[in-house]
């Protein structure tokens, strides 16, 4: 469990980092290292060059204004968790972050690292999908934006082109007073979720008038349960609406592995969707 040989680069500006990643063959960027370092030690990856982003200026920020939140790719998960602005404007992100690994890993782990690594159960990927986020990438050729819907290209495969670096992500805030919930089932606290469900909704005169529902753990990427969202809009919160949405979530495709069956993931999608809706409605001040 020792990494194979690689050259280490330590850029300090985005331009310098983009130049290295554009110029060097078989190069990988190093963010918080909470996944990459074990993968190096297991020799699952063998880059010739490691480009350390930890000293690059201008990649760590939380900027919430004008109904949107902008996060630098190297912003530590722990900083987002402790941001009062995030807790106020994006309460669901605050809730979700408590499920991301452990304090020790959140001190190092970054939002950009999590988005690039793309573990199927990663809470932060779910959050960006829930908010229809837009990712920002830089390369020697300039900058471009990538919608989250176009970001996941397969299991643990993102949409960055060779020579591109993720620099940040933008999320649109939901209106003050919205309800939110993040429900996750993992074997132990801090483990990657078997299934996780997030939910945002707003109520008007006792009726749901906007809803977003996102399920992770079922396939390579978090899934927005569009059909359930449609069912919920215009519905009175309560058992019938929650159950209907939960049944839709259960019907999503799911993967099996050596430990967890597809049937169990689907069952959890149903149970957690129901719970998420119940909690989100309560937080929005509704009954159900």
């Amino acid at each position: 469990m020792k990494p194979p040989p690689f050259a280490y680069h330590d850029p300090t500006t985005i331009e310098e980092a983009a130049d290295l990643i554009g110029r060097l063959d078989n190069a990988m960027p190093l963010a918080g290292g909470q996944s990459l370092m074990p993968m190096l030690n297991f020799r699952v990856v063998a880059p010739d060059h490691l480009i350390d982003l930890n000293r690059v200026a201008g990649l760590s920020y939380i900027d919430i204004k004008d109904g949107a939140g902008r996060f630098g790719a190297m912003t530590r998960q722990r900083d987002i968790e402790f941001s009062a602005d995030v807790a106020k404007t994006f309460p669901v992100i605050h809730q979700a972050l408590k499920h991301v690994g452990h304090r020790q890993t959140r001190n190092r782990g970054t939002i950009g690292g999590s988005l690039c690594h793309l573990d199927p159960s990663a809470e932060l990927v779910n959050m960006v999908a829930l908010h229809d986020g837009v990712l920002e990438a830089a390369s020697r050729g300039g900058r471009r934006e990538i919608r989250i819907a176009d970001w996941v290209r397969g299991i643990m495969t993102n949409a960055l082109e060779p020579g591109e670096l993720l620099t940040g992500v933008m999320l649109k805030a939901w209106p003050v007073g919205h309800g939110s919930a993040f429900e996750e089932f993992a074997r132990r606290h801090g483990d990657f979720a078997i299934t996780a469900v997030s939910c945002l909704l707003t109520l008007e005169r006792g009726t749901i008038n906007r809803a977003a529902l996102c399920v992770s753990g079922m396939g390579p990427a978090p899934v927005r349960v569009v059909e359930a969202e449609r069912l919920l809009v215009g519905a009175k919160p309560g058992h019938d609406a929650f159950r209907a949405a939960a049944v839709v979530a259960q019907a999503l495709d799911a993967m099996s592995d050596a430990y967890v069956t597809a049937a169990y993931r689907k069952h959890l999608a149903r149970v957690l969707t129901y719970r998420a809706l119940q909690r989100a409605v309560a937080r929005a001040g509704g009954q159900g």
């Binding site: 194979p4 040989p5 297991f42 089932f185 132990r188 939960a246 169990y264 149970v271």
Partner: protein, 775 residues
């Protein structure tokens, strides 16, 4: 007297807590090279050829050793089987490096030696091995079926051993039973997963043709015995030392094939070689406890009294038999536990598979036996509509029946005879402590919540012989040192053994240095496993200390010209009772070694030193009752342990705080076995669970707060009344936890017959009920 029985803080802790522990990997020697053990990637394969040229061409790589590079004595013989048994049909053991066949993923094939571990890993990837994959046996029950491929080429079948256990006449008992119930139970226990992986440094001394080995182990003396055999060497040529050890739990007691190969490599290189097992290797190569299939029936009379028990056990040996049949033997013979079972028949089949060998892990088969027995007791209670505790009470062995002959022959060849204990009172007190009578009412009150209580009773054979060594010596500087073959891995021996000795010398435990696990310090030694150190080493320290204290008094009496019985030992001095006249231990020790030319004839024998090898007649039996309370979320299957209580009896207690730590740790181990730990293999015996992201140990957040209560029934079998305490926390834990989960799910008729039990499995067993509120 006064240190024995006191909850003093551990002498070990200041060093451990301030980073001054000294583990094998902390040892760095000049000129030391680093080794990687190249292991089989196949569950079963023939080796057609090995090409090391590419690996050897890498700068910084010194050598690649394969089977044919080993000394003749290691090519000729396999690692010896240390615990033979007439029940063994095929005594298969590995060569130090695989010869022409590999039989599990992780079997050592080559040793790659380089300037650094990094380089050695780079080179290991370049060793080109031509394998011919062979069919593999991935499951012990499947492996015994006709037509299964052999786990070892050329074997007639996969039956490693067959152990029939017969007490009384089970079939006759079943014929007259009022009720017969059958349980088929699959049990899986994972590995030891100590915090410090295995490791070894071999240091050759080319001037004297000797070798010193530092190895993380549970006893260097048995390792020495094996290596002397493998190298055809004399006693003086080999010294083995075990420094601080970060956990052992059983499998660190085994001699692993690569240890022989590493010793040979160091001798050939004429330089020290270090090998440290990394966590990936640990999953592949450290022995595990793994799979057992039980199929058992219990016969009871109309009052739920046990008439007999019969059935079969199929045990997964893995590829070799490092501990013979000790593990399945203990499992089988531990089934009766604290209950009277006059008729018992169990046929135990031990099967080879193409997986890493199995050997005892903390509890050593007893947790599985307790699960079987306690599942049966719950079943009888449910079927006969009786209270679960009452069924157990009716079947307990009573104190009046002690010493109680179970009728079974234990693995030491002696009849299993429980020496002492009060099982009915133990259970009664445990139940009272958790308000068992009130539990049904609490359960009924909790609308929509599913809470359950489980009971686990167990008896544990502890303090197994043959002996443990203790040499107590007062050096001429006056310092007191105890040398012992006991090999601590976290058990606090340096504290508890010092407590025993201190009382003899009128000093404090801090005044006594305990030197453990060095074959140069004690000629004989056995090691620490099987909850045996307090009984064996503790008794030896007690006996040797008494002799040395006596000698101090004899010499001091002569020096002070008083009667021996007037001398008392206090604060490093031999004093004349009631006066100021005294001699320091240093002065007495100097006199005791004598002066050149001056006769000591007629006086006490020279030296303030004594050695004892306390040899118990048989095991002494600890016991305990565990009560678990759980809540089950029926929608997710998640189990939360809400309360856990242990009533434990390990005889007299040297240090209650240390025993409590052992029990709490043991219970957490049981929580892991009951709910989390599972080593998955695919159908070609390829391990799937090879890191802690997939093999789940209980975290602090999964660990209940454990309440520990003590009873003290002294053992009549040793001078201090001691019994072992290292495994009792684990043994009844799985049984109690499964019982609690089943009790919580009683409204749904869910029956638990497997361990570990996962949330997913609970949801499967609940079926439609798991829809809960979402229905």
């Amino acid at each position: 007297m006064g240190w024995f029985g006191a909850s003093i803080k551990r002498k070990e802790d200041p060093a451990f807590l301030t980073g001054r522990g000294r583990y094998v990997d902390d040892i760095a020697l000049p000129g030391m090279l680093h080794a990687v053990v190249l292991r089989s990637p196949h569950g079963h394969a023939a080796i057609r050829g090995i090409d090391k040229r590419a690996a050897l061409s890498l700068p910084g790589v010194h050598a690649v050793f394969i089977h044919t590079d080993l000394p003749e004595s290691m090519q000729r013989q396999t690692v010896p089987l240390l615990v033979p048994s007439p029940t063994i049909k095929q005594a298969l053991m590995p060569y130090c490096l695989a010869k022409e066949e590999v039989c599990f993923v992780g079997e050592p094939i080559a040793i790659v030696v380089a300037d650094s571990r990094y380089l050695a890993e780079d080179a290991a990837a370049l060793v080109d091995i031509d394998f011919e994959p062979l069919p593999a046996v991935a499951d012990c029950a499947q492996g015994l079926k006709p037509g299964a491929p052999p786990a070892h080429r050329g074997s007639p079948n996969n039956l490693a051993a067959f152990i029939p256990i017969n007490v009384g006449n089970a079939d006759a008992a079943f014929a007259q039973a009022a009720h017969v119930f059958r349980e088929q139970i699959f049990q899986h226990r994972g590995g030891p997963f100590f915090m410090e992986c295995r490791g070894m440094i071999a240091v050759p001394d080319v001037a004297s043709d000797t070798l010193t080995i530092y190895v993380s182990s549970q006893g260097p003396h048995r390792h020495k015995r094996v290596l002397l055999d493998l190298m055809d060497w004399a006693d003086h040529q080999l010294r083995i030392v075990t420094p601080d050890v970060g956990g052992g739990f059983g499998p660190k007691g085994s001699f692993y094939a690569e240890y022989g190969a590493l010793a040979a490599a160091a001798l050939a290189m004429r330089r020290p070689i270090k090998w440290i097992e990394d966590r990936h290797e640990n999953f592949l190569s450290t022995q595990q406890e793994r799979d057992q299939y039980w199929d058992v029936e219990i016969a009871v009379d109309a009052e739920a009294r046990i008439l007999g028990l019969r059935g079969t056990l199929t045990h997964d040996a893995g590829a070799y038999l490092p501990w013979g049949v000790v593990l399945p033997w203990i499992a089988a013979t531990s089934v009766p536990g604290p209950y009277v079972i006059r008729n018992f028949h169990l046929d135990v089949s031990v099967a080879f598979t193409n997986k890493v060998p199995t050997s005892p892990v903390r509890g050593a088969g007893r947790p599985e036996a307790a699960v079987v027995m306690e599942r049966l007791m719950d079943r009888v209670a449910r079927e006969l509509k009786l209270d679960r505790a009452e069924v157990r009470r009716r079947n307990f062995i009573t104190p009046e029946q002690m010493p109680y002959k179970v009728g079974i022959i234990f693995r030491d060849g002696r009849p299993v005879t429980y020496d002492s204990g009060d099982y009915p009172v133990c259970q009664r007190e445990a139940l009272a402590a958790v308000d068992y009578e009130g539990f049904r009412a609490r359960q009924a009150r909790e609308e929509g919540r599913y809470i359950g209580l489980g009971i686990g009773n167990a008896v544990e054979a502890t303090g197994l012989g043959p002996y443990e060594s203790a040499t107590v010596r007062v050096s001429t500087s006056g310092k007191l040192t105890v040398y012992t073959g006991a090999t601590p891995q976290g058990q606090s021996h340096k504290t508890t053994l010092a407590q025993i000795a201190a009382d003899h010398f009128g000093c404090t435990p801090d005044d006594i240095t305990i030197v453990t696990a060095d074959t140069a310090a004690t000629g004989l030694g056995v090691g620490s496993f099987a909850a045996r150190t307090a009984v064996n080493a503790g008794s030896s320290v007690h006996l040797a200390s008494a002799q040395v204290a006596q000698k101090i008094k004899q010499f001091a009496a002569q020096m002070m010209e008083v009667a021996e019985q007037d001398v008392v030992l206090e604060s490093g001095y031999a004093k004349v009772a009631g006066s100021d006249v005294k001699r320091s231990f240093r002065e007495v020790a100097a006199v005791a070694v004598g002066m050149p030319g001056f006769s000591m004839a007629g006086g006490p024998s020279p030296g303030l030193e004594a050695t004892s090898h306390f040899t118990p007649d048989q095991s002494t039996y600890s016991n305990g009752t565990h009560i678990a309370e759980v809540e089950v979320d029926i929608e997710t299957g998640q189990v939360t342990v809400t309360r856990y209580l242990v009533m434990h009896d390990c005889g007299t207690v040297i240090n209650p705080m240390v025993v409590e730590g052992q029990i709490v740790g043991g219970v957490i181990h049981g929580v892991g076995n009951a709910f989390f730990e599972r080593l998955i293999y695919d159908d070609q015996a390829q391990p799937v669970s090879t890191h802690f992201g997939e093999y789940l140990l209980p975290l602090a957040t999964d660990s209940p707060s454990v309440e520990v209560l003590h009873m003290e029934t002294p053992s009549p079998l040793n001078p201090l009344g001691l019994k072992g305490a290292g495994e009792g926390g684990t043994i009844a834990a799985i049984a109690a936890l499964l019982s609690a989960v089943e009790n919580a799910l009683e409204p749904f008729g869910v029956h638990i017959a497997e361990a570990p039990i996962t949330p997913q499995r609970i949801v499967e067993l609940l079926g439609e009920h798991a829809l809960g509120r979402t229905r």
